[in-house]
């Protein structure tokens, strides 16, 4: 296990395309459900314990060596929104390119060959983490952090929110990120059937509304 490899993978500057996505924050801002730092915290906390936990479970599963094909099928079943499925596969494809350059690995090569249009992002992330020598728990931490880091950065741009306040939200959520990562890693060690499937109805609903907007700042 390399702590530095985890920092490289989790860094927002890792060229995997995540900065183009708001994690549903753009739609929530437009709907008036996210207007200030408190709203951002509630939004991020909800994301963390739902889709964050679910994605962390998938990624931790891939890092633990569960069958990525099976995990990819589970990810499809956990995502009723075609806009979110497409975004996840697009992000998976982008992440795959960066990960293969960073940590050349036969597991990544095999996954890329099996899913030329992109496997789901958490499956690619877990496979990349495994290639980087990271375990399920570190991988789950990476997902938990990106689940809330993306919307926090986006909301600074969308609302002009004070970046110090946005960072304070992330810091306050840190203990819950640890809990989510631990739950995800524990589930992943028990196998595919134990993986969480926590979902967020408003994220599923608004993802389709957002995808239909003619002009938007973020891809999702």
């Amino acid at each position: 296990m390399s702590r530095s490899a985890l920092l490289v993978l989790a860094d927002g500057r890792f060229p995997a395309g995540g900065h183009a996505h708001s994690g549903g924050a753009e739609a929530a801002v437009k709907a008036g459900r996210l207007t200030d730092a408190a709203g951002l915290e509630a939004f991020c906390r909800g994301r963390l314990h739902t889709v964050g936990l679910t994605a962390a479970g998938l990624a931790a599963g891939a890092a633990a060596g569960l069958d990525p094909h099976e995990l990819d099928a589970v990810a499809d079943a956990q995502n009723p929104s075609p806009a979110l499925r497409a975004a996840s596969r697009r992000l998976g494809r982008q992440l795959m390119r960066a990960a293969r350059a960073a940590w050349p690995d036969p597991g990544l090569d095999a996954l890329a060959a099996a899913f030329p249009r992109g496997a789901h992002q958490p499956v690619v992330l877990g496979t990349a983490a495994r290639a980087a020598g990271l375990g399920p728990e570190d991988t789950a931490h990476c997902v938990a952090y990106e689940t809330v880091g993306g919307p926090a950065t986006a909301v600074v741009r969308l609302l002009g929110l004070d970046p110090y306040q946005a960072t304070a939200v992330l810091a306050r959520l840190a203990p819950e990120m640890d809990e989510v990562a631990a739950r995800a890693a524990t589930a992943a060690r028990q196998g595919v059937d134990a993986l969480p499937a926590a979902s967020a109805p408003l994220l599923d609903i608004t993802a389709e509304q957002h995808a239909a907007w003619p002009v938007r700042l973020f891809a999702s």
């Binding site: 549903g24 929530a28 509630a42 499809d76 075609p82 967020a200 109805p201 609903i205 239909a212």
Partner: protein, 260 residues
Amino acid sequence: MSSAAPAAGTGVTATARITAGADGSLPVLESDGPFALRRTRCAVPGWTRVTVVGAMSAPLGGDRLAIETEVRDGARLLVDAAAATLALPGRTADPAAYALRLRVGADAVLRWLPEQLVSVHGSVLRARTTVELDPAARLVLREEQVLGRHGEPPGTLFSRLTVRRAGRPLLDQELACGPGAPGGWDGGAVLGGHRTTGQLLVVDPRFDTAPAPVRLLGDHAVVTPLAGPAALVTAVAPDALALRRILDAALADLAPFTAP
């Protein structure tokens, strides 16, 4: 038949069973515990109908209740309910468990259209619906969760719906809300202050060649095609009536109830 034998301070354990045959028969129709099952007359010919009559308010904390339903090859079964299901606090602090296990065979159809599940203040319920579908099965399934009776704060509800088709995952989603759920469930990402949420799932092999298009149903509901041959309506609403209106309109559109 009843296997219910509650010891003092613990809950009821009960499993009701339904098996429907292609000839319109019900080879198994076993009431148990709080679930009384009645064969009822179906307005549409060619269908078998069973109505779940809640013999008492249930589930209570500590109860372990289940309904198992098998729709054999070629059978057409409608299951509905006489009243909403109320998750209530029990004499123990233990959560209640409510499991629905549904199997639908080849060329069989199940319309599972119960009433709302109401999470009453102070209750803790784990609701688990698992569905196993033959590749040639059809399914219409509605789930509606109401967070608290009118004007009261909600209980704690963990609800998971898992559907497998030909052994492969088709839909797997869980929702946690109420005071015992992890934080953020009432924030802008999950329910955003809405007090009801529901899903309507329609699985039909015809969607393999002609998937249901994405359709927005107002601001708080959407029809989406799943990765497999199915369409899902996801909705949140301020109250049970508004939610039912959305789901009823989608039901009439996606899966009208007609004679075979």
